[in-house]
């Protein structure tokens, strides 16, 4: 291990002034434990790796967002405003590829998961810390390959790399092979992260934390990791086949050589549909935490939420064919895939109802993470319900490859997964940085993002059902599409502004934010039992595991400006018998 336990060195840095009464000593936390660039670049500490992931993913998010705004601006008028056909094709391809491979897939698991999961489990690190660092660098290399794709001829295949377009050197631009290589490498970063979490959850839970005493966030990460480990290798080999196909002309997907372009779609969606759940499951885990902690209310139907994550993970492997109802696959196959697709709707609905029931009789704090949580419930319901239109065979034929699909998956991927990620960042920001952000600025930015998001994408449902095909740089003037495109574009500007405001107040909090207490929200899971920011080895002593959703034992302390154990209830540390207070 690269980090050796060493006594902290005094006066390494000084803390920003805070209102608290603590002695102004240099704290030994994971941020200050060792210093220097090398101590970050070669760190095996899961918290530092998680933080590096967070910064990198947000950087990629910025890039993807710029491409999204370019795409939206182009579509203000039927003939396009700022780009030519090829430029537009590159813009939406890079937007999609960056957002999927570089942002959403690693967002919650690799950044928040890396930081929070081991602490939630009371562990000192993930199971394989060096593998963890390795997968971070795989992510960096993969991202560099994407950058390289932009400079080696560009990439205009769409993020799905459909054959035979992508393998035809006369059609697709020159950046296909670097981009495929990048996606392949990112896939392995994702596999190693998933493996690491699976082993961590299996082997590093503390004594007393049985499977059903785990918080729900680890459950969702567990379900996600199963998908990552089982589906991503298939994507890897598919992308490798594409590279070989394009470089050598082997013809596996080339009809001119007796190959089958639809086989590629099967291969691709066998991964990429489960990948949708790689994106949404961790978000659901975040939401379970946000809703229960900020409602100060025991999560409702714990086991149903936990099992529904597993059910979604299992079903996710069986529904890939619903992306191909119009591809010419046999009718029977389509019918079967449609039937299984509907079965995914059930566990998702169960989660929604359980979250709502959690809020019932709660004590709901209207702070930024909770606003993101409630926004998630609204947005994810729309995303889920419009999934019904698309899973239904007769209507999907009309809606497939139109803006209805675009709107649907943005409601799920962007409005649900990414906004849950942003909400999770707010929730764990005090823990990660040790600083409180400005709550009112947070509420204001959430409002901008929420309104902007819905304006942007609600209009795209009508656009799609009226027949506007996706991936169009221009559109017919007389089809009545322009008004929806304009609404959508202006909404995207509002949303973009919301993210800019978010970035500003979060960065500002690093410099002028109030010092965060150990437990600012009143959470019960183990990460709120260590200091903010956590010490380098998380817990000096193995923490005592209680019911992680029992919030009645906490109370607000003016002195700490955070929540502490209630003075009138004996702490389980002192009397082991008192631990039973946590169970209902």
């Amino acid at each position: 291990m690269l980090l050796r336990p060493q006594e902290k060195v005094a006066d390494m840095t000084t803390l920003e002034a805070g209102t608290h009464e603590r002695p102004k000593l240099v704290e030994d936390n994971y941020l200050t434990h060792t210093t220097g660039l090398k101590s970050w670049l070669l760190t095996v500490d899961h918290k530092r790796i998680g933080l590096m992931y967070l910064v990198s993913v947000l950087g990629a998010f910025f890039m993807g967002g710029v491409f999204a705004l370019l795409v939206r601006t182009q579509l203000l008028t039927p003939e396009g405003t700022i780009m030519g056909q090829d430029q537009y094709n590159q813009a939406f391809t890079l937007h999609g590829a960056i957002m999927v491979f570089l942002v959403i897939i690693p967002s919650v698991p690799a950044s928040l998961g890396n930081f929070i999961l081991p602490i939630m489990l009371g562990a000192k690190d993930v199971a394989f810390p060096r593998l963890n660092l390795f997968s971070y660098y795989l992510w960096i290399i993969g991202a560099l390959f994407f950058v390289m794709a932009m400079f080696t001829g560009g990439l205009d295949t769409g993020w799905t790399f459909y054959t035979p377009y992508s393998t035809d050197t006369n059609s697709a631009m020159g950046g296909v092979i670097p981009a495929l290589t990048g996606a392949f490498i990112l896939g392995f970063a994702s596999i190693f992260t998933g493996m690491n979490f699976l082993v961590t959850i299996h082997r590093l839970r503390p004594p007393g934390m049985t499977w059903f005493r785990m918080p729900l966030f680890p459950w969702s990460i567990y379900a996600t990791s199963v998908i990552q480990v089982l589906a991503t290798p298939v994507l890897g080999i598919t992308l490798a086949l594409l590279v070989v196909e394009r470089a050598f002309g082997i013809g596996i997907f080339n009809p001119a050589l007796g190959g089958d372009p639809v086989l590629y779609q099967h291969f691709f969606w066998f991964y990429s549909h489960p990948a949708v759940y790689i994106m949404i499951l961790p978000a659901m885990g975040v939401i379970s935490e946000l809703i229960s902690v900020h409602s100060h209310r025991h999560i409702f139907g714990y086991s149903f939420i936990a099992w529904s994550s597993i059910a979604i993970a299992v079903f996710s492997f069986l529904v890939w064919g619903h992306h191909m109802f119009t591809s010419g696959q046999s009718g029977l196959v389509s019918v079967i895939f449609s039937a299984i697709t509907f079965s995914v709707a059930i566990p998702s609905a169960v989660k929604i109802f359980n979250w709502l029931a959690t809020m019932y009789k709660g004590t709901i704090s209207w702070n930024t993470p909770m606003l993101y949580g409630m926004g998630f419930l609204f947005i994810f319901t729309i995303g889920g319900l419009t999934g019904l239109h698309l899973g239904t065979l007769a209507t999907d034929v009309h809606l497939h490859d139109t803006y209805f699909v675009v709107a649907h998956f943005h409601y799920v991927m962007m409005g649900s997964a990414l906004l849950a990620f942003i909400g999770g960042i707010h929730h764990w920001w005090p823990k990660m940085t040790g600083k409180m952000y400005n709550e009112n600025a947070g509420r204001f930015a959430w409002f901008l993002v929420f309104v902007g998001f819905n304006v942007t994408f609600l209009s795209q449902f009508m656009l799609g059902s009226q027949g506007m095909p996706r991936r169009y740089a221009t559109y017919p003037e007389d089809a009545g599409f322009q008004i929806y495109h304009m609404i959508s574009t202006y909404g995207s500007y509002v949303m973009g502004l919301g993210f800019v405001v978010t970035a500003i107040y979060l960065v500002a909090s690093l410099f002028s934010g109030r010092k965060a207490p150990a437990n600012p929200w009143g959470g019960r899971s183990l990460e709120w039992q260590c200091a903010s920011p956590p010490p380098w080895d998380n817990f000096a002593e193995q923490p005592v595991v209680g019911d992680c959703y029992d919030f009645t034992v906490l109370e607000w302390s003016e002195k700490e400006q955070g929540y502490v154990w209630r003075s009138d209830i004996p702490h389980p540390d002192g009397s082991p018998a008192a631990e039973s207070e946590g169970s209902h």
Binding site: Q85, N89, D156, G158, Y165, D168, S171, P255, A256, P261, H296, R297, H298, F300, T326, S327, G328, V335, A339, F342, A345, I346, A349, V350, L356, M359, Y360, K361, G362, T363, S365, W366, L377, F378, L385, L388, H389, G391, T392, L393, A394, T395, V397, H398, H400, D401, M462, S465, Q466, G467, P469, R470, Y472, P476, A479, F551, L554, E555, W556, H584
Partner: protein, 400 residues
């Protein structure tokens, strides 16, 4: 691309430009103009109403809880006396959505199977998608259209589609039909239009640079007008001036020859059209029985003019088989009108003006000064054209 583009150009020259009918759609759906559309709309509306219901209920409950149970100022600890588990409730909100989605699935499936099965009596159109244009063939009339496809109203129409390059997808919103088009494979799509009009057809599978311009129109006509249009399209060459005939043949007729006769000199089942005229005019061709063409062309011989030999090869190909070839060509007697044969002869004669050495089309070929005397083809071979009702017109046009 240039090939199809020029077809479109030709078509536009003969028809007024069509614009899509601005039909009355609903808030969600565009105009409905096929027999399948009402059903799809009903399913869509059913799911949408269900979605409205759940969305509104969930939103109301969400907002109500958020306000009713908001945290009050100064609250320092929390009572939690709400339920944390209720199996009956859990089962309710598991099973009710389950029954609903089973219902939705069943309705959607039934409609989908109908969408896939075309009636056997369907009128068939062969569709070829190619970056970034559409080509529609009407085998029943020997008509090729590009940019617009004309179909009859009230009769099932089936598109038999394939792609010449990458994936495409044929989507007509007004008919609620969509089907991917895959190179090397045929896929089918059928619809029965219910009202005459002009409807937009989109490519909905991303296919590269001009994907968003890969549009076409579906012109739905009443049966009598449809027959009339087809008849007109099938004989449009009658009105063409002679200098347009070579281009017409290359655009519209050569695709029937292309699988056996190349334009770039490469040998396929039959000899290449490249240099064919020179070989014929110079009499270089040698036949299987050892005779040379130079011995057969000339006044009083079998073929008075080289054109006669080519005409004979198209209509009675088995009479003279060129050395080293098997004589695989079918007769086009009865399939080609006399003026079309003339167009083909002229195409071969002036091929080098229209096509470069690699077999690629030359943009805007110079065909203004054609060799005088080309009309002699018909004049010297009247006995074959006798049964052709268009022959008189064709001959009448020879002086032009």
């Amino acid at each position: 691309m240039s090939f199809l583009g020029s077809v479109a150009g030709t078509l536009l020259a003969f028809n007024d430009p069509l614009v899509p009918t601005s039909g009355q759609g609903t808030f969600w759906m565009p105009e409905s103009a096929s027999t399948q559309a009402p059903f799809v709309d009903h399913v869509f509306d059913f799911i949408t109403v269900l979605s409205y219901f759940f969305q509104i209920v969930i939103t109301i409950v969400l907002v109500w809880f958020a306000i009713r149970y908001r945290k009050r100022k100064g609250q320092v600890n929390f009572e939690d006396d709400g339920p944390v588990h209720n199996t009956a409730l859990e089962l309710t909100w598991t099973l009710v959505p389950l029954f609903l989605v089973v219902g939705i699935f069943y309705v959607g499936m039934a409609g989908f199977l109908d969408l896939r099965r075309a009636p056997s009596s369907a009128y068939e159109v062969s569709v070829t998608a190619q970056k970034w244009s559409w080509s529609f063939d009407h085998p029943e009339y020997g008509v090729n259209q590009a940019g617009v496809v004309t179909v009859p109203v009230g009769r099932p129409v089936e598109f038999l589609m394939t792609s010449a390059d990458v994936l495409h997808s044929c989507f007509v919103p007004a008919f609620r039909v969509k089907q991917d088009i895959i190179p090397g494979r045929y896929s089918r799509l059928w619809f029965e239009a219910t009202k005459p009009g002009v409807y937009q057809l989109y490519c909905t599978e991303y296919c590269g640079t001009d994907h968003s311009k890969m549009l076409a129109l579906v012109e739905v006509l009443p049966e009598d007008q449809f027959q009339e249009t087809m008849g007109k399209l099938a004989t449009e060459y009658m009105d063409l001036p002679e200098q347009d005939l070579p281009t017409y043949a290359l655009d519209r007729l050569y695709n029937r020859c292309s699988s056996c006769h190349s334009l770039d000199g490469s040998t396929a089942v039959g000899p290449s059209f490249k240099g064919l005229w020179d070989r014929t005019a110079n009499g270089e061709t040698v036949f299987k029985d050892g005779r040379r063409l130079s011995d057969m062309i000339g006044p009083g011989k079998e073929f008075p003019e080289p054109e006669d030999y080519i005409r004979d090869s198209i209509l009675v190909p088995q009479s003279h088989i060129v050395q080293n070839y098997a004589g695989a060509m079918p007769s086009f007697q009865g399939q080609l009108k006399e003026r079309q044969v003339l167009a083909l002869v002229l195409m071969m004669k002036y091929l080098d003006r229209m096509v470069d050495d690699q077999g690629n089309r030359i943009e805007s070929p110079d065909l203004n000064e054609l060799d005088p005397g080309m009309g002699e083809v018909e004049a010297s071979a009247p006995e074959i054209g006798d049964e052709n009702e268009f022959d008189a017109v064709a001959t009448a046009g020879k002086g032009g």
